[in-house]
Symmetry: D2
Subunit: 341 residues, 4 copies
C-alpha cells in the first residue's frame, strides 16, 4: 500500500500514519520528496483497509498495490479452471454454446426450441423460469412450472440446463433442476444471493453487472468462491454506456482482460450485449476470436410472439446458420465445439 | 405507440403489423411518407409490449409514448406524496436530515453519534446493521445485534431509525426495528426484495442504482407501490460515470426531474455522492437549493477508525457546522427543518 | 512516482527499471514485499513520463503521485485568481450572470434580448456568432455580421460580451469584439485553438468537454496558461452519461472539486447542463449553493422560434424571475451580484 | 416527425403546433388518445428542426423518424463505398493493416519501423508528425520534419502514409505528404477541421470521438461528405466508459452497426482501444471477425523508449506474430490481405 501525504501535511500527521501502520504489523518506508511525502507499507493488507488510512488527517490518497481478490485471481492459481457440466467442460479446449429462449413461456415453446437448438449444434439449454423485469407489469416467468418444463427438455434432448435464480430462498429449489445456476446482471452485487449460490455444489454462471468494473465482477465471484464453491463461469453481456443505438455495449476487451487476471472461464452473451438480431452473429464470431470459452444466445421459435427479448432473439434457422459460421473460427483457434454424450 | 417501418418494408409486412395491433384492440393510423411508413397505435399499452412489435419483420423501431410507470407518475397523482415518519413528515414543507454512521460498529459508537447528531439538529438516525460490501473480506455489519443497538439509540434520542435490508427473508425482522427500511443502490433492481418491502407497512427509502436511469428508478418504486405500499422516499446518491476524482457523480438534476415526473419525495446523500469529506457540505447546500426534501449524511465520532466510508464521514463537529450553514438556505426556500416532538 | 513490478518480474527487470530511473536523475527506493516489489522514485517528473516506465518489461503499473498540471493547480498558487472583465470581476466576491441567446440570429433579436437581460440583472451578454453544430445542415451562425451585432449590443447596454471562437485562424478577429473568448465543449481538447487563445490577452471561458475528466479539463486550461494567458474561467456545462432524460448530467460536484484543486474561477451553465427549461432555475440555485462564481444562461425573446436550443432557453420574463429567486441565495453566501458601472 | 403533446395541453396549443407544421409544408395527422395527443408530420425535415417544435408550449417530446445524415447513410447509397489508396482499396474484399509508431520520433526510428512492418505484412504506414497530447508538457511531434521523414519512409517501402492533421490551416501542407489524412478522436467535432478536410481530394480516416454516439460519428462524416469529399474511412478506437482497467472500451459492436447504417468502410484500432499490449492481438482478431475492413496498430522498435503510447505498442516481432495469427481469420471470412504493387 502506498500512502501519499498532502503537500501541507505536518510531521505529526506523518508520524500518526506511520504509527498506525506499525501498530497493525506493517513494515513502513518513508520517502520525503520536495513536493510530497510518500509512505510505503508492506504487510497483511486484509488487516487494514485503504479507506481507513485515507480518512487519517493529512493523507491525500492511498494506492492499493495488490488486487483485492485472492481466490479469483491468477496470482495464486495460475492454471485455468475447467468446470465439468453434464459430461462437457467449460474453460478447457471445448467451446460451449448455450442457447434457448429468454423465458420459458410454455411446455411446447421450450421443447420446440430445445430440440431445434440441439439439432443445430447447441451444447446447453438456457431458459428463465424466474425472470427479473424492469417493470412489475411485464411477464415474470412461469416459476416452478417453468423448472418442470426445463427438466423435461433436458430429459428429451440431453442438454444440460442453465437457468436463473433471483431469490436466495429459492436457490435449493432451482438447484434441483439446474445444471448451472445463473446469477443475472442486476443481481451481480446481491451479496445474499451470491453467498447462497456459493453454498451449493452447482456451477454458477455469473453475469457481469451493467456498470460493474472488471474488479467488482471478480470480487462478486470471490463471494461465491469464498463460500467454498469453486465453479464460477463469468459471462460478459454488455455494459451500460452513453451509446443508445445498441441495448448495451458489449465489452469484448473484458475477455482477454479477465483471462489475464483470473483463472475462471468466460463466456459471452451477444444477444443482450447488442439487443439487435442482426448484430448477434458478428459479435458471436468476435467473442470467440477474442478468446471466449463459449457463447450464450437467445433463440425463440417465433421471436415476434416472444414474451421478452424478441428483437434480439434468433429463429432456430438463424441460430443454425450462426453455428455453421463459427465452426471454422473454432477450428482456426485450435479448439472444438463441445460434444454431448 | 408509434411504429416506424424500415425503408424497404413490404405492404404485407405493414399489414401484418396493423393486423397484430388490431387483434389486441388498438386503434391504428397509418401514415405513408416518402421515405418511411409510420403506424400510430392507440389503446391499452399493457396488452402489447413495444419489444414484441419491434420483433416483427419490417419494423425499424417502436417509440413508446406513455411512461411505463403509473403509480409512481404524476399523471394520475398530481399532488405531492407526504410520508409520516415518527411524528415528522417527508415530502411536505419539512426538510429532514438523516445522519449517522455508515455501519453500526458497536453500542458505544452508535449511541455517541446518535446523541451528537440529535444535538446538532439531525431529525433521523441512519446506520447499517447489514452492510453490502464489494469484497467478502470487508466488515459485513453486526446483523441482529446492530438492530438492537439501533432500537436503543432511538429510545435514547427519539430519532426515528433508517436502516438497510438486503435479504428478502430478513425484511420482517428488520422492519420490527426500522422506522424506514432502506434499499441500497446495488439492490435497486433486486425485484424479490422490492416486492418483500412492498408487502410491509413501513416507509421505504429507495436509493438510486449506480447506473439506473430515472425511468428505471421510478419503475423500481413502482414494484413497491404495486404491492400496496405507497410510502416510497427516493434517494439520489450519485451515479457511475467516467469521472474518477469523485467516488460517484451526484446527479442533482435528478431532483427537479423526479419532482416533475413523480409525486414521491426525494432526498440526497452527498456523502456517497462525492466520497470526499470536503465536498459534503457544498453538495448538501446544492441539494437543498435544487429542491430536495432532505439529506442523508454519514457522521462518525472518529472517521479515521471507521470500519467503512471513513473518507466521506464527517465528525459530529463538522456535521454541526453543516446544519448551521444550511439553516438560512432552508428558510430562504420557505421550508423548515423537521422538529421532533 | 511509484512503480509496481509484476509478481514474476526478474531481478534483471527490476534492475533495469532502477537503472533507467537513476539515469534520469531520480532518487530511487526499492521495497520488496512478499507478493510484489515496489519502486519509489523521487525527482523531476517532467523528465520521464509514467507511460514510458509502464512499457518496461516486468512493470505491472505506474502510479503518478503529483498532479500533471502546475500553473492551473493550487499547490503553487494557493490564492484564488480574480479576473477583471469590463469593470466587473470573476472569481472574487462578485457573482456574474452571463445571459443571452444561444446564437446571434439577427440584429433585432440580439438587441431585444440584450436590453431585456440587462434590465433583469444580467451582468454579461452571451451569444454565438460562430456555432458548432452536430449536423452540417443546422444553422451555423452569422459569423462576422454576428460579431458586429454583438459590438452594437455592448455599446447599447454596457454588457461585456462573451462569444465563442472555433477556428484558430479567427481568434484575432473574434478577439477584437469579445470581452471574453469562449472555447466550447467540443473544442476543449482542440490544442491548436487552446494555444491560439493562450496567445491573446483576453479572458478565456473554457467549457468542460462532454467526457472530460476534471484532470483533463485542468490540463486544457494549462495549455492556455502555459502560453502566457493567465485569465481562464472554467465553465461546467454537463457531462455525458447513460442518463437520457436530461441532455447532459450537470456535474455540480465539479465546482467544489475544481475550487479545491485549482485557483481558477468556475461558472456553471444550467441551460446546456439540463436541456430542459423547467430545470434551469433549480440547477442555477444549486450551482450557486455549491460555490459557483457565476452562471451562464440561455435567454431568447421567443424560444419556440429559436434557431438553436429553444427547449432550454428561458424567456426574458422567466430569466427575470430566476434572477429575483437567486438574490437571497447570493446574499446568504456572503457574495454580491456584479454591478456594472 | 412525431410530436407528443403534454397530458394537459390545450386545444389552442395543439392548434398552434399544427399551424406551424402546415406553414412549413408538412402533411399533418392528429391522433387523440385517452392520455396523450400525438401529431404525425410528414414533409421535408430539413425545413423544421425537432428542437424548434420541442420548444412550443404544450409539447412533451418530439421523436425524429429519419436519420439526420443523408450522404453517410445507406438509405440513398445502398452499395458499399470502396476507397482507393495508393494501389490498394479500403472497403472492398481487401483487408488493410495500417501499422507504425504513435509518433514520428526520428528519421531512424521511422525508417526502422516502416521497413519492419512492411516485411511483416502491413499494407500502410501510420505515424504522427503533429500529435494532440493531453498535457502541454508532453512531446508534441516533429511537425514539418516529421512529414519529410514520412515521405522518405513511403519512398523506401512503398507503403501509403496515414498521418494526422490537427489545424485547419495545415491541411494543405499535411495533404502534400499524406495518402490518407487522419482526424483524431479529440477533433471529431472540430467542424472547422472537418470542413477543411472535406475540401481536399484525399481520403480521410475519421476516428470516433471518445464519447461520440454512432449517430454523431456519422454526422461528423457527413460534414466531410457534404463538402464534396466522398472518401471517408471510419475508425473505431474505443469509447470512454466507467471501466478503468483498459484505457478505453473498444466498441466492436460499432462495426456491424455502422456497416448496417452506412456504406462507409470501418477499420479498428485495438492499440488505443485497449491501451495494453497483451490485448492488442485478441482484439485485432475480434475486430476482423466482427467484419472490420482493416486494422490500425501501433508498432515501435523499442516500446520502452517510445515518446508516447509505449504500453500499447507492439515490437516488430510481436506485430509479425499478430499478422500471421490473423491470416487464417481473413481467409475464413472470404477476404484477403491487401497486396502492394
Amino acid at each position: 500500500m502506498i500512502i501519499v501525504m498532502e503537500p501541507g501535511a505536518s510531521p505529526a500527521q506523518q508520524q500518526s500514519v506511520v504509527a498506525r501502520l506499525e501498530r497493525e504489523g506493517f513494515k513502513v518506508h518513508l520517502s520525503r520528496g520536495v513536493e510530497r511525502t510518500i509512505i510505503g507499507a508492506i504487510g497483511d493488507k486484509t488487516r487494514l483497509r485503504a479507506e481507513t488510512l485515507a480518512a487519517l488527517p493529512g493523507v491525500e490518497k492511498v494506492v492499493p498495490i495488490l488486487q483485492p481478490y485472492k481466490l479469483a485471481g491468477r496470482d495464486f492459481h495460475p492454471e485455468d479452471t475447467v468446470i465439468p457440466v453434464g459430461g462437457l467442460t467449460v474453460g478447457g479446449p471445448q467451446v460451449q454454446i448455450i442457447a434457448g429462449p429468454c423465458a420459458v413461456e410454455s411446455r411446447e415453446q421450450l421443447l420446440e426450441v430445445a430440440v431445434a437448438v440441439r439439432e443445430a449444434g447447441a451444447t446447453m439449454l438456457r431458459g428463465g423460469a424466474y425472470k427479473p423485469r424492469s417493470s412489475p407489469y411485464s411477464f415474470q416467468g412461469l416459476a416452478a412450472r417453468g423448472l418442470e418444463f426445463l427438466a423435461e427438455a433436458r430429459a428429451t434432448t440431453g442438454l444440460p440446463v442453465v437457468t436463473e435464480v433471483m431469490d436466495p430462498a429459492l436457490v435449493p429449489e432451482v438447484a434441483t433442476v439446474a445444471d448451472v445456476l445463473q446469477i443475472g446482471s442486476r443481481n451481480m452485487q446481491n451479496f445474499t444471493l451470491l453467498q447462497a449460490a456459493g453454498r451449493t455444489s452447482k456451477p454458477i454462471l455469473l453475469k457481469r453487472g451493467l456498470s460493474a468494473t472488471i474488479e467488482e465482477w471478480l470480487l462478486a465471484a470471490e463471494y461465491i468462491l469464498s463460500e467454498g464453491n469453486s465453479q464460477v463461469v463469468l459471462c460478459e453481456r454488455g455494459i451500460r454506456t452513453f451509446e443508445t443505438y445498441t441495448r448495451n455495449t458489449l465489452d469484448l476487451g473484458a475477455v482477454p482482460a479477465v483471462k489475464h487476471l483470473s483463472h475462471l472461464p468466460v463466456v459471452v452473451d451477444p444477444s443482450h450485449g447488442t439487443g439487435r438480431k442482426f448484430m448477434v452473429a458478428p459479435m458471436a464470431r468476435a467473442a470467440l476470436a477474442a478468446g471466449a470459452d463459449g457463447l450464450m444466445i437467445e433463440v425463440h421459435p417465433n421471436p415476434q410472439e416472444a414474451l421478452s427479448d424478441g428483437p434480439q432473439s434468433l429463429t432456430p434457422e438463424q441460430f443454425s446458420c450462426l453455428v455453421k459460421e463459427i465452426q471454422p473460427l473454432i477450428a482456426a483457434s485450435g479448439r472444438e465445439l463441445g460434444r454431448l454424450a
